[in-house]
C-alpha cells in the first residue's frame, strides 16, 4: 500500500531477467526508513528542499510508536517558569544521563527544542494553553522546571498527526506496510535497501543516495514492555550489519509505572504525566516510600531511581496483590482527571475495571525506551557509514544512561530535522553511483524467503520470540549481575543457532508469521549486544544496575562502549573515552556548584 506523492517518485518499475524472483525498483534521493516523529521530520526537511523522498514504514501512516507518547514534549520555552533556559535543560539532561551523554547533542537538543515546538504549532499542532494564551507546560521527573509542552495525555498523537499531515502535503512518497530487510552498499557507501510489502509479499529494491534510519527502539526483546510489536530494533541491526558503530547499548530504560493487571495489559504504560500531575506512590503498608529513595524529588525523581524504588518495594514484600505498588491520583478528582489525564482514565476503566478517580492504580516497572543506538555525529546525524544517517530512538548518544521523560519527542524533531539536513547536504555534495550487483539483491531475497517457501516444517518464530523475551526478563532485567548476564547470553546464543530452522505456514500475502520470522533475527542480535555490553559496564549508572558492582565507577563515567561488527562477523566492543566538555558547558556545572 502506498500513498503517492504528486510527482515524488522518479522510480521506475522494473523486472530482472534471469531471476526467478522479480522485484520492483524505485529510486529516491533520500530514503527514510521509519514513519515516526523522527522519520517524518527528516522526510519533510528533505522533501521541502526539493529532493525526491521515499518514506517506508512497517505499519500504516500515523500508527508508529510516536502515536503512543502521552506525557509531553520537553522544551525550555519558559512559559510557566520563566527562569527556565536551554542551560538548565541541558544540565538536567546531562545529569540524568549520568554524564555519558554526548554533550554536543544535549546542547543542540536543549537549544533547538523550543523552535521545534513552535514549528509544530505553525504546522497546526495544538497544545494546551496558559491563562496568558501561551503553550502550557507540566512538571515531569527530574526536570528542574515545568517544561513539558503537552495536550492532555495524547501529545504523541498530536505530534505524529501533525507530521503526517505535513508529510502528505509534500511530494514524499510513502510506502506503508513495507519492511526493509537489508541495506546495500557500493564503494563503502549506503546506496539502497531491499524491502517487501506486507500486503502482497512482493519485493521492492529502493535505490537512494542517502538513507535516514528512523526505526525507533527495541523494547520487544522483553516480555513486559510498553512497546508495540514494531519495537524490534530493525534499524539498529540493519545499520550494524552495514558496518555502523553503535553506542551505549547496555542502557535500556525501565519506566517505573507500567500496568500489572489484568495479565493481557501487563506492561502497558501509565504515563509519567500521572506523577507530573501529583500522583503519589505507596506500598501495601500505605507508606509514601519515595521519601526513602529521593527525599527531595520524591515521585518526580528520575526514572531510573523511581523504577528501582518500585522494584525494591515489591522485592522486599511490600507489594500489592498483583505484584506492584500503588499509584494514587484520586485527589485530582474526576473533573481534574478528565481534563489532564482522560486517556489514563479510559484505559483503566476499560481494560482493568478501575476508576482512577476513586481507586489507586497498581503499577510496576516496564521496559520502555532504548537510550543506546546508532552512533551519530551531533551536527548532521551521520553514522560512521557514508550515506547512512540516524535519528530518533534508534540513534544513541543524547540520553546517556537515562532518558528524561519528554526528551524523546523533542529529540525526534530536533535530530529528525538535522538528519534531513545532513542527508540533503550529502546528496548535493557529490556524485552517487547507485548500481549494485543484482545477484546480491537476489541472495537477500532468497534469505528472506527461506522460512516460508521451503514447504518444510520447523521452529515457530513466535516461540523463539517468547523464549527470548523470557530469557531477557530473567537475566537482563532492571537488576543485573555478571552471573545472570552470562547465563542469559548462553541462552540467547543458543537461540541464535535455532534461527536457521524457523519455518512458517501460508502464503506471502499479509503473513504475520513470516514477518515475525524476520523480526526475531533482530531481537536475537540486539539481545546479544545488550548482554555483552551490560557485562562490560561493571558499575551502577543510570539504567544499568549491577548488583555485583553496586557503586558508580568514576573511571567508567568517561567512557562509552562502542559496538561494531568485527572482521569475523562477531560483536566487537571497544570502550572509548568521551571528549571533555568545552568550557562554556562545563562552566555551567561549576557555576551551579558555587551557588
Amino acid at each position: 500500500m502506498d500513498t503517492n506523492g504528486h510527482n515524488g517518485s522518479n522510480g521506475a518499475s522494473a523486472q530482472r531477467n534471469g531471476s526467478s524472483e522479480k522485484y520492483e525498483v524505485q529510486e529516491h534521493d533520500v530514503l527514510v526508513i521509519g514513519a515516526g516523529g523522527a522519520g517524518l521530520r527528516a522526510a519533510v526537511e528533505a522533501s521541502e528542499a526539493g529532493l525526491s523522498v521515499g518514506v517506508v514504514s512497517k505499519s500504516l501512516l500515523g500508527k508508529a510508536h510516536t502515536v503512543m507518547a502521552e506525557g509531553g514534549m520537553a522544551a525550555a520555552v519558559g512559559n510557566v517558569d520563566p527562569e527556565d533556559s536551554w542551560k538548565t535543560h541541558f544540565m538536567d539532561t546531562m545529569k540524568s544521563g549520568k554524564f555519558i551523554n554526548n554533550w554536543r547533542m544535549a546542547e543542540l537538543h536543549a537549544k533547538e527544542s523550543p523552535d521545534r515546538v513552535y514549528e509544530l504549532e505553525q504546522w497546526g499542532a495544538l497544545f494546551q494553553r496558559t491563562p496568558e494564551g501561551k503553550i502550557s507546560q507540566r512538571p515531569f521527573g527530574a526536570h528542574t522546571y515545568r517544561r513539558l509542552c503537552h495536550v492532555g495525555d495524547r501529545t504523541g498523537l498530536e505530534l505524529i498527526r501533525t507530521m503526517q499531515e505535513k508529510t502528505l502535503a509534500t511530494d514524499a512518497k510513502v510506502y506503508m506496510e513495507t519492511t526493509v530487510t537489508r541495506l546495500f552498499k557500493k564503494d563503502g557507501k549506503v546506496v539502497g535497501a531491499l524491502a517487501y510489502t506486507r500486503e502482497s509479499g512482493k519485493f521492492i529494491y529502493i535505490k537512494a543516495k542517502a538513507v535516514v534510519m528512523a526505526t525507533g527502539g527495541w523494547g520487544r526483546i522483553f516480555e513486559v514492555t510498553s512497546n508495540s510489536w514494531e519495537g524490534t530494533g530493525d534499524g539498529v541491526v540493519l545499520s550494524y550489519d552495514a558496518g555502523a558503530d553503535l553506542v551505549d547499548m547496555e542502557m535500556m530504560q525501565f519506566h517505573p509505572t507500567g500496568m500489572v493487571w489484568p495479565p493481557g495489559v501487563a506492561g502497558l504504560l501509565v504515563t509519567e504525566g500521572v506523577r507530573g500531575e501529583g500522583g503519589i506512590l505507596k506500598n501495601s503498608k500505605g507508606e509514601r516510600y519515595m521519601a526513602r529513595y529521593d527525599e527531595q524529588r520524591m515521585e518526580l525523581s528520575s526514572r531510573d531511581v523511581v523504577a528501582r524504588a518500585n522494584y525494591t518495594e515489591v522485592q522486599e514484600g511490600r507489594g500489592s496483590p498483583h505484584g506492584g505498588v500503588y499509584l494514587d491520583i484520586t485527589h485530582l478528582g474526576y473533573d481534574g482527571i478528565m481534563k489532564k489525564l482522560p486517556t489514563m482514565h479510559e484505559q483503566f476503566l476499560k481494560l482493568a475495571d478501575i476508576d482512577i478517580s476513586k481507586e489507586p492504580m497498581e503499577v510496576f516497572p516496564t521496559v520502555h525506551y532504548t537510550m543506546g543506538g546508532v552512533k551519530v555525529e551531533p551536527e548532521n546525524c551521520a553514522s560512521t557509514v557514508p550515506g547512512l544517517f540516524a535519528a530518533g530512538e534508534v540513534a544513541g548518544g543524547l540520553h546517556g544512561a537515562n532518558r528524561l521523560g519528554g526528551n524523546s519527542l523533542s529529540d525526534l524533531l530536533v535530530f529528525g530535522r538535522r538528519a534531513g539536513i545532513g542527508a540533503i547536504e550529502y546528496v548535493n555534495e557529490g556524485s552517487h553511483s547507485l548500481e549494485v550487483e543484482g545477484s546480491e539483491i537476489e541472495r537477500e531475497i532468497e534469505r528472506v524467503l527461506k522460512p516460508i517457501e521451503t514447504g518444510e516444517t520447523g521452529e515457530s518464530p513466535y516461540l523463539i520470540q517468547q523464549e527470548l523475551q523470557k530469557a531477557m526478563m530473567d537475566h537482563a532485567n532492571i537488576m543485573r549481575t555478571e552471573e545472570d548476564l552470562k547465563e542469559g547470553l548462553g541462552k540467547i546464543l543458543a537461540l541464535k543457532d535455532r534461527l536457521e530452522n524457523i519455518r512458517v505456514q501460508g502464503s506471502r500475502l499479509f503473513n504475520p508469521g513470516w514477518h515475525a520470522a524476520q523480526d526475531v533475527r533482530y531481537l536475537v542480535q540486539i539481545s546479544e549486544i545488550i548482554l555483552r555490553t551490560a557485562l562490560e559496564r561493571r558499575e551502577c549508572r543510570g539504567a544499568q544496575w549491577r548488583l555485583d558492582h553496586p557503586d558508580m565507577d568514576e573511571e567508567l563515567g568517561h567512557v562509552n562502549f562502542i559496538v561494531s561488527k568485527d572482521g569475523q562477523g562477531e560483536v566487537g566492543i571497544e570502550s572509548r573515552e568521551i571528549a571533555p566538555m568545552p568550557e562554556h558547558l562545563s562552566g555551567l556545572f561549576k557555576e551551579e556548584a558555587k551557588v
Binding site: 495544538l126 494564551g133 502528505l168 493481557g264 495489559v265 475495571d353 505456514q505 499479509f510
Partner: protein, 259 residues
C-alpha cells in the same frame, strides 16, 4: 497467568477478497482478555499466518479496527466478557476491499487525507491563543484514525461514493482546521464542490455511535460545517464576498470562532 480453565471461542473470517469463510477457534480464557489477545494467541499457537493489524494494544493508535458481529470495534478495547453467552464473529471492515483475514485495504483514506487542504497560517508561531479559543478543537483532534466511522457511513458502505465523498473522519479534520483561530485557508469549496461532498451526509449519526474516542462527529463536526457551507453558498452577500476576496468565511480571522 490466570487461565481458569475456560476457553474463549470465536469465529474469525479467514480468506481474501474473493473467497473466505468463518473459522471457529478456541483459546484459553484469561482474566480481562480482549478480543485482540485471543486473536494473537491463535496466531502464536495455531495459525501463524492469521492476518490482523494492531500496534499499541491500548486503544491509542486505531490500527486494530474490525467488525465484531457486524459492528466496528477496536479489537484491543473489546473484552471477551462483553459477549457472555453470545457468539463472537470477527471480520474485517467492510467498506474497503479485503486484503486478507481481518485486514482490509484502507489506503483510500490516505488519498482523501492528501486531498485535504492542510493547515496554513500567515502569522508566525508562537501563537497567542486562549484555552477558550481552542477548547473545542481538542475533541476533533482526538481522532485516532481507526476509520470505523468511515466503515459504517452508508454513503461509503452502501452507496460507494468514494470518489465524491470524504467521509466523517475527514469532516472531523476539516472542522478543526476550519475553526482553528490561526488558520487562514478556506475549505468550504472543497467540502461542497470538490472531494468533500458533505451534502451527501444526511445526518444519520451512525458515525458518532461507533467513534471509540467519543467524538460527536455529527453534532460537533458535520452540522457546523454544513451550516457554514449553507451560509457561504446560499447567502448572496457572502457569495459575492467570496467571489471578490476568496477568503475563508469572507472575513478576517477574528470571526472564525463564531458560528
Amino acid at each position: 497467568m490466570t487461565a481458569d480453565g475456560s476457553a474463549a471461542r470465536l469465529k474469525v473470517y479467514r480468506g481474501d477478497g474473493e473467497n473466505g469463510e468463518f473459522v471457529e477457534y478456541e483459546t484459553p480464557m484469561v482474566t480481562g482478555m480482549v478480543v485482540l489477545d485471543a486473536i494473537l494467541n491463535i496466531q502464536a499457537e495455531q495459525e501463524s499466518d492469521l492476518a490482523v493489524r494492531w500496534n499499541c494494544k491500548a486503544a491509542h493508535c486505531g490500527s486494530c479496527s474490525a467488525e465484531i458481529n457486524g459492528v466496528p470495534k477496536l479489537l484491543c478495547k473489546t473484552r471477551i466478557e462483553e459477549y457472555e453467552g453470545r457468539e463472537i464473529n470477527v471480520q474485517p471492515l467492510k467498506a474497503w476491499p479485503i486484503i486478507k483475514d481481518l485486514v482490509s485495504d484502507v489506503s483510500w483514506n490516505y488519498e482523501v487525507s492528501r486531498s485535504t487542504i492542510p493547515f496554513h497560517s500567515e502569522q508566525q508561531a508562537p501563537f497567542t491563543m486562549y484555552e477558550e479559543d481552542v477548547e473545542r478543537l481538542y475533541e476533533p483532534k482526538k481522532c485516532i484514525e481507526c476509520f470505523m466511522c468511515q466503515d459504517v457511513c452508508h454513503v461509503l458502505r452502501t452507496h460507494e461514493k468514494h470518489d465524491v465523498f470524504a467521509g466523517p473522519r475527514f469532516f472531523v479534520r476539516n472542522q478543526w482546521l476550519q475553526m482553528h483561530p490561526m488558520d487562514d485557508r478556506d475549505r468550504l469549496r472543497y467540502l461542497k464542490e470538490d472531494r468533500g461532498g458533505i451534502q451527501y451526509c444526511n445526518i444519520t449519526k451512525c458515525c458518532t455511535e461507533v467513534c471509540p474516542v467519543g467524538i460527536k462527529i455529527t453534532d460537533n463536526s458535520i452540522i457546523p460545517l454544513k451550516e457554514r457551507v449553507a451560509d457561504e453558498y446560499y447567502d448572496p452577500a457572502k457569495w459575492l464576498m467570496r467571489k471578490i476576496r476568496g477568503r475563508k468565511n469572507g472575513a478576517s480571522n477574528g470571526s472564525v470562532n463564531g458560528s
